[in-house]
């Protein structure tokens, strides 16, 4: 790792962690038990919305795994092999998205800001969706994946990318339903996912930038 990168990485990771914590902080959440009928109704509505969104995540994850299972598997493998790098990259990427979005919003009066902001939004959403599915796969594999060939051969249902993704959605979805912890875990998962998606270039394992070579070399 270059010296400048080593110098800037720790403070940026700390700053990015603070930004993420501020964004994910449950300032507006109600941790107390429902005291009135209105409280209970609000809690039920929140749970209903969360479970509905989990169902959407489930369908998106299954569809994406069917479309590009190999890429999802590569990204999941990368996340398990170098988790710290993916997390650091995710934190820096989230901070970069926020700062870039502010800059593009700044440019809206000059007409160039709107398409740039739209493109950034689409890219960020796609990155998050792909990354979350990769994290679902990684969590499913870590918890329910086969360790040996005998175990794999003996399994009828709990094998394959699709099953691992579904198991991951169920586990992380169950955690998501816990009031405060769920939100924080889901935010951290997003950071991991974004980092993994970018680190593997959406599972394609290609370099983002071309290396400069001189004519002699």
């Amino acid at each position: 790792m270059p010296r400048t990168l080593r110098l800037f990485l720790p403070p940026t990771v700390v700053a990015a962690s603070l930004v993420t914590a501020m964004m994910a902080a449950p300032f507006g959440s109600d941790i107390h038990t429902p005291l009135s009928f209105a409280d209970a109704t609000t809690m039920l509505q929140k749970t209903a919305v969360t479970v509905a969104l989990l169902a959407v995540w489930m369908f998106a994850a299954v569809a994406l795994t069917l479309l590009s299972g190999r890429e999802i598997r590569y990204s999941s493998l990368e996340m398990r092999a170098s988790a710290l790098h993916c997390f650091a990259l995710g934190l820096v990427a989230v901070t970069s998205f926020v700062l870039t979005a502010i800059v593009f919003s700044y440019l809206i009066p000059y007409h160039v800001g709107v398409p740039l902001l739209f493109a950034l939004g689409v890219f960020a959403i796609l990155t998050k969706i792909y990354g979350m599915v990769a994290v679902f796969h990684a969590v499913g594999t870590l918890i329910a994946g086969s360790r040996t060939r005998d175990q794999l051969a003996g399994r009828k249902w709990l094998r394959g990318d699709l099953a691992m993704v579904v198991i991951g959605v169920v586990i992380l979805g169950a955690i998501r339903l816990i009031p405060v912890v769920g939100l924080i875990v889901w935010s951290l998962t997003s950071v991991f996912g974004i980092g993994t998606a970018l680190a593997t270039k959406f599972g394609r394992r290609e370099p983002w930038f071309l290396a400069y070579r001189t004519a002699e070399s």
Binding site: F8, L9, T12, A16, T41, L44, Q45, T47, A48, V49, A52, L53, L54, A55, M58, F59, V62, G69, R73, Y74, L77, E78, R80, A81, S82, H85, A88, L89, V92, T95, S96, L99, A101, I102, V103, S105, Y106, I108, L117, S146, T148, R149, L152, W157, L158, R159, G160, D161, L162, A163, V166, V169, V170, G173, A199, T200, R205, P207, W208, F209
Partner: protein, 147 residues
């Protein structure tokens, strides 16, 4: 498999012949050498090798997938019904949260516009540093398969 094991094998291949059954790299090298010298390569115990990530990955457990998806969808619809909401409310809620995010961004941009020159320069420097760091981190090659 550690490098020490590989080193020990390279130093004394006959005494550490069992190493070939557990190390794919050394085994491949031994096979390549054997091909060159017309010596029969030692057999490899495939079961002793760790399970590769792609093994069994193409299997599609449809009963598990469809069953779980159906259960989650039914629970979601039942909860929405109990809360007196329709699926449209969820979509509207998601759009409203995006609208809130857009408002927040606009407010941040107008604060930046009205901020002092020093604050704008500091923001610009932070923007350049964070994106420079992002590019530096993106340059690292993924290592999943080689790990």
């Amino acid at each position: 498999m550690t490098k020490d094991d590989c080193q020990r094998y390279l130093e004394d291949p006959e005494a550490n012949a069992a190493h070939l059954q557990t190390c794919a790299k050394c085994n491949a090298e031994a096979i390549a050498l054997a091909e060159k010298t017309d010596v029969a390569p030692p057999s490899i115990d495939l079961d002793a090798l760790p399970l590769a990530p792609w093994e069994g990955s193409s299997h599609r457990a449809w009963p598990l997938v469809l069953g779980t998806a159906a259960v989650v969808a039914i629970v979601a619809l039942a909860l929405l019904d109990a809360a007196g909401m329709s699926p449209l409310h969820v979509v509207e809620g998601s759009l409203a949260s995006m609208e809130a995010m857009r408002t927040l961004l606009n407010r941040a941009a107008s604060s930046l516009r009205s901020a002092s020159l020093g604050a704008q320069v500091a923001f610009g420097a932070a923007f350049v540093i964070v994106n420079g760091l992002l590019i530096a981190l993106l340059r690292r090659a993924p290592r999943g398969i080689d790990a």
